[in-house]
Point group: C2
Chain length 394, copies 2
């Protein structure tokens, strides 16, 4: 029997964000997290039984490790542990702990036992640790196994809750945040680069549904691989929801040609991004969204100076533009990208955007930008681009 | 002689954000970081000599550990190391390494040697590691010291650069980001709570000067301790700049009384925050800032739902409102607060705001908000509040 085989239950813990809400909101959020775990398990065809108690979910399953890993893909979950369930009788706890220890302590030199307890029992948590620790030492008699409370190789953890007890070793980290959907919807600019998918994910983590929008400037200014990257990033993001989603693909080559032809080269990026903002605003109207999200980080690119962001911001009148990465260093964004599964997609080879000038303007002038936009009829082009855009199922 | 006593130089490394810029920008940023390190060292009365080379700064000082720690308080610095400087002659490197080893390997069981090399030398990096490792083993002959490349207790690090070499152990982490000031100025709402100082700091990290604004609703709706907390947070933030700064304190008790009296209780927080946004916008005009910064995190408080943020956002017409914490969980914000020195201030006892209703509105209606604001003449009150506000030196 493998280590996995000894577990029959999963402990799922809710994130702090959920825990600090009023009881009413908290129960509503926790039940929503449960629903989303169920959806994910059912999509994966896993057999399970779920028991919700205030502050915890216990999922019984013969595939506990798989369930525990799936649960860490649900927003609002802070961590999960495959566990062996038993009654809260001391003898049962000892037997369960020995079973887990047998699989996990072989060949190890040091261990510790920790216990958390809720409810009334004829013993303290410390009693459990002492008793279980002693029995494990006796069981591994012949080996050189020792208790080390400071820096043990393995920690046997026991959670006693009323008439049940759970023995476990691992704690898998979840994303934390709020259950998806409790915050309504946002429209997100998604380029397929490293930043924008992370910005999307952070908004999802805080409870918002996303509608990604990709601007396709191929074949002149980018390539098909770039579009595929964006679509794959959207897929990776929707993977976190346990169900599909929709994204907009906006034809953009013509517009960018006009910008390249009619505007000074240094203004290409500002005009390009403002146009994207404008279309996003129209999509937000249509999708009844509450905001627009971009992957901008202050100073990362020339178009992302404080001044230029200000000029960009003026392109959107009816929604806030959210920039969750504004204060991030690239290494911090990359770390999240790796964790959420978009990094390997975003770093695939593709042409990227070849329309960007070598020396983009750092302090764009709004009046001048508005003048050019009037000349090239940006507003009208945005309307047309929206009409020609495709809404695709992911 | 202490371990500290064996160092005479500090290696300061620039953050990746600086490193990826074009050579011209990079040199400009790196030199700006140097200027800011100098300012900090001079403010602390430290004797030093600085040598800048592309990508690195070496600071000679007899107080190397202190200098290294001060350098980690300069934005744009990724890390620093107190080091012992010597020539790039192999014998000199060995002597320096032995000197450092003598202080740091006593009583240890395992060590490793690592070497990085730039320039032309009659040896490879590997030669240096082997030679130094061998000499150290010989030096500690009588002890049970061993080489362990995988998991050493101490790593002796050697950086060879042209005709110089540096031996060091520690790497202190700096904040990364961009040198302060390369991004212009932002006006920040600063409450003295945990979030807003972190939002300020993240903007500073990305290169922006800050002008904090505190709204003083004491004695009716908060207390003097709350104001002192905000001022102390501002001090802690300006501590990161090596020089002082300025903040606005806006008298707010009267305005909040009007809101409490004239508006439905559920709308208190929305109206309160919108008023703060309005005053911040006027201060941004006056200070020639490029944006407004708040500590809002999506869903953290009732006033921070997507819908409510949208209604808040409408209060500001001429600037983007930046919310660098939008995607943060509380634990993530707290972690930064601890690191930057504001957590212990923000968690001090104070009355906090007692004007907040028990059940604030979650989906405020903009039209209704505008109606109330017209009735209570918010715009006029904002003008007056600005006139009565104090600009204080920190």
């Amino acid at each position: 029997m493998t280590e996995e085989g000894s577990y029959d239950t999963v402990i799922v813990r809710f994130g702090c964000e959920v825990g600090v809400k009023s009881s009413r909101t908290r129960i509503r959020y926790e039940k929503e997290v449960c629903r989303q775990i169920k959806r994910l398990l059912e999509a994966e065809g896993v057999d399970y039984k779920m028991e919700y108690v205030f502050g915890r979910v216990y999922v019984s399953s013969c595939d506990a490790v798989k369930v525990a890993k799936l649960a860490t893909r649900v927003f609002g979950v802070s961590s999960s542990s495959p566990a062996l369930k038993t009654s809260s009788e001391m003898n049962d706890i000892v037997q369960a702990a020995l079973k887990v220890a047998e699989k996990t302590l072989k060949g190890k030199r040091t261990f510790a036992v920790r216990c958390k307890r809720t409810g009334r029992h004829p013993y303290t948590s410390m009693d459990v640790c002492r008793k279980v620790g002693g029995e494990i030492l006796q069981f591994f008699n012949e080996d050189k196994l020792k208790v080390d409370l400071k820096n043990p190789e393995v920690t046997i953890k026991i959670e006693v809750r009323d008439d049940k007890a759970y023995v476990y070793i691992e704690e898998y980290n979840g994303p934390g945040g709020f259950p998806l959907g409790v915050q309504g919807k946002v429209v997100c600019l998604l380029s397929g680069g490293i930043d924008s998918p992370v910005a999307c994910w952070l908004m999802m983590k805080r409870g918002a549904f996303i509608t990604p929008v990709y601007f396709d400037s191929s074949p002149t200014f980018s390539d098909e691989l770039s579009r595929i990257k964006a679509v794959d990033c959207a897929k990776a993001l929707f993977n976190w929801t346990g169900k599909g989603g929709e994204m907009y693909v906006v034809p953009y080559e013509g517009v960018l040609s006009v910008i390249k032809r009619e505007a000074p080269e240094r203004y290409t990026c500002i005009l390009c991004k403002r146009f994207m903002y404008m279309v996003a605003e129209k999509i937000a109207d249509r999708e009844k969204a509450e905001g627009i999200v971009t992957g901008e980080a202050l100073g990362e690119q020339a178009s992302q100076t404080l001044r230029n962001i200000r000029v960009l911001n003026e392109a959107v009148k009816r929604y806030p533009v959210h920039r969750p990465l504004l204060g991030f260093d690239k290494v911090e964004t990359e770390e999240i990208a790796r964790r959420i599964g978009t990094y390997s997609i975003s770093t695939r080879k593709s042409s990227g955007c070849n329309a960007a000038p070598r020396h983009p303007i750092l302090k764009a002038k709004l009046e001048y930008v508005l003048e050019i936009e009037k000349k090239i009829e940006s507003e009208k082009m945005a309307e047309e681009a929206l009409k020609k855009s495709q809404k695709i199922k992911i």
